[in-house]
């Protein structure tokens, strides 16, 4: 039986989780789902669920992949149940919320292209790409997060990179624009 003190203590744990990872989780979910409100809802569900079943986490060192696993599952759940009935390409509202900084038009265009390319990837490929190249998870941690072997992660990453290289929205980027070139442009 949990006491009030235990609950308060647990809430502090949850707050620590949220402070550490909420923003990155929302952005990860945003890249997976392509939609801000869906991403926030998915992350909220995921954290509440994770906190409810926090006893299932035996190894504190596995916290990060475990949390991402919960987030990814929540995203998968939304992709299966809700988002297929909506237009995934409707990112205009989200694009409008991007902060207005230097080169705003270029950044908005980039974001739009990336979302288009990600939206055309199958969800299982999209998830590994986002976890690897945005959330910076190792292949081993991604394997834990998605519940598949490391070999599967590698093959999915490779397939995703091939598909993205062929994607019309990113082709100019991959062939012409490089990070260095972009820095130089700025």
């Amino acid at each position: 039986m949990r006491t009030t003190d235990d609950s308060t203590s647990d809430l502090r744990v949850l707050e620590e989780w949220l402070t550490d990872s909420y923003a990155s989780s929302v952005r990860t979910a945003y890249l997976i789902l392509g939609n801000r409100s869906d991403a926030e809802d998915a992350v909220q569900d995921a954290y509440l669920r994770a906190w409810r079943f926090r006893d299932a986490l035996n190894d504190r060192a596995s916290m990060k992949p475990w949390l991402y696993r919960v987030v990814v599952n929540s995203c998968y759940s939304r992709l299966r149940r809700e988002i297929p009935h909506r237009d995934l390409r409707a990112h205009h509202d989200e694009l409008a919320t991007l902060s207005d900084r230097d080169d705003a038009i270029g950044r908005v265009t980039t974001a739009f292209d990336v979302h288009r390319a990600l939206a055309d990837l199958a969800p299982h490929l999209r998830v590994v790409v986002v976890l690897r190249y945005y959330a910076d998870l190792s292949e081993r941690d991604i394997a834990k997060a998605i519940g598949h072997p490391v070999g599967t992660v590698k093959s999915r990453l490779s397939e995703a990179r091939r598909q993205l290289a062929r994607h019309a929205a990113l082709r100019p980027t991959t062939s012409v624009r490089t990070p260095d070139a972009r820095e130089e442009e700025r």
């Binding site: 929302v26 079943f53 945005y134 490089t178």
Partner: protein, 365 residues
């Protein structure tokens, strides 16, 4: 195949997501949702014990699957190994009986009939047992028949026939037919013949034992078939048809037009024909169960049917090998059913377990 550069990809993703403003409101919302009392929300102790330990969960699923498959397949395999004798021994009343000569057994509609080979190679005794005879009641209809082979001394055929006729008469029966012939076997003439005795069914067993004393018995075959069900069924059909005939007769009495009378008459004719047909079958069955037939074959001594040539060792071994091969093949076919069922069951259980495992895993987090 060209792949997008990893550095570029990393950069593009960050460029696309890092500018997404994330406010503190989301965190506060989650904390507010997490505040309600938790006691009721805790997962059941057993469930949480399983959820937190995948190995234990897998072990439990595996044990459950093995238990289910074992529970399903073991009775099946045992059922396959049970000899079919037990099934036939409790058989239903049969329509017709068959006699068996020779060694071994043969399940028939009437039950099991056994034949026993004598050491001299001749079949000396065959007996059949109808399962229903164990529960014979006063109203049971039993059809009994038999065959007795006798050898009598040279010139003893005539007296034996006379004695058999006397036996039948003393048991309240009669001689249905008889036949005596003479043949030349190279070492002199010999006589042989057949006589069929008919006695009331209850006296049949007594007659069989009496007949065996007339000469040297070389073979006895009897069969008893319980035809009570068939008899009852025939009677019921006849009763129903008779009731229908009475109704048509009543209609006939009220019929006024020629057409009506002719139509009813046609039905009555058809019914009458059917009733007579069934009544004939019933009478025959009644007669067959009232009286039992025993056919007695008599041969004078000195004339023997050549016994079958005994098999030599190689021939016997060959036949045993063939028999063993066929038996093994039969066993393989019999066993393949339960084995296939077990494999399919296991496959389905594994599939279900995998689905359940995935569902549990998703729910758990």
């Amino acid at each position: 195949m060209t792949e997008i550069d990893e550095m570029v990809l990393r950069h593009e993703l960050r460029a696309a997501a890092d500018d997404l403003g994330v406010s503190r409101e989301g965190i506060d919302r989650i904390l507010a949702s997490a505040r309600p009392p938790l006691a009721d929300d805790d997962p059941p102790r057993i469930l949480s014990a399983v959820r937190g330990r995948p190995r234990r969960q897998r072990l439990l699923i595996a044990v459950a699957m093995v238990a289910v498959v074992t529970a399903i397949t073991v009775p099946l395999v045992r059922g396959e190994s049970t000899p079919p004798l037990t099934v036939h021994a409790a058989g239903l009343p049969a329509r017709a009986g068959k006699t068996v000569n020779g060694s071994g057994y043969s399940p028939t509609n009437a039950g099991l009939k056994f034949g026993v080979a004598q050491p001299n190679g001749l079949v000396t005794l065959s007996a059949s047992v109808a399962p229903a005879t164990a529960a014979v009641t006063s109203s049971a209809k039993i059809e009994s028949n038999g065959q007795v082979d006798l050898t009598v001394r040279k010139g003893g055929i005539g007296p034996a026939f006379t004695r058999l006729t006397t036996l039948a008469a003393s048991d309240g029966g009669t001689v249905v037919n008889s036949q005596i012939q003479t043949a030349n076997a190279g070492h002199g003439n010999f006589a042989y013949g057949t006589i069929t005795l008919q006695v009331p069914q209850p006296r049949f067993t007594q007659l069989v034992s009496q007949v065996q004393r007339v000469g040297r018995t070389t073979s006895v075959t009897t069969s008893s078939v319980d035809v009570t069900a068939q008899y009852v069924d025939l009677r019921a059909r006849i009763t129903a048809l008779q009731a229908a005939r009475r109704q048509y007769l009543a209609i006939m009495a009220k019929a006024s037009s020629i057409n009506d009378i002719l139509a009813v008459q046609a039905q009555l004719n058809s019914l009458q024909s059917r009733i007579e047909q069934l009544q004939g079958q019933l009478n025959l069955l009644d007669h067959q169960t009232t009286y039992a037939n025993l056919t007695v074959s008599l041969t004078e001594s000195g004339h023997h049917v050549a016994p079958p040539k005994p098999e030599n060792g190689i021939s016997r071994a060959f036949h045993r090998a063939v028999h063993g091969f066929v038996a093994g093949f039969e066993w393989l076919i019999r066993a393949s059913g339960p084995a296939l069922f077990a494999v399919l069951s296991l496959a389905v259980l594994l599939l279900l377990a995998r689905l359940a495992w995935r569902a549990l895993r998703r729910r758990a987090i």
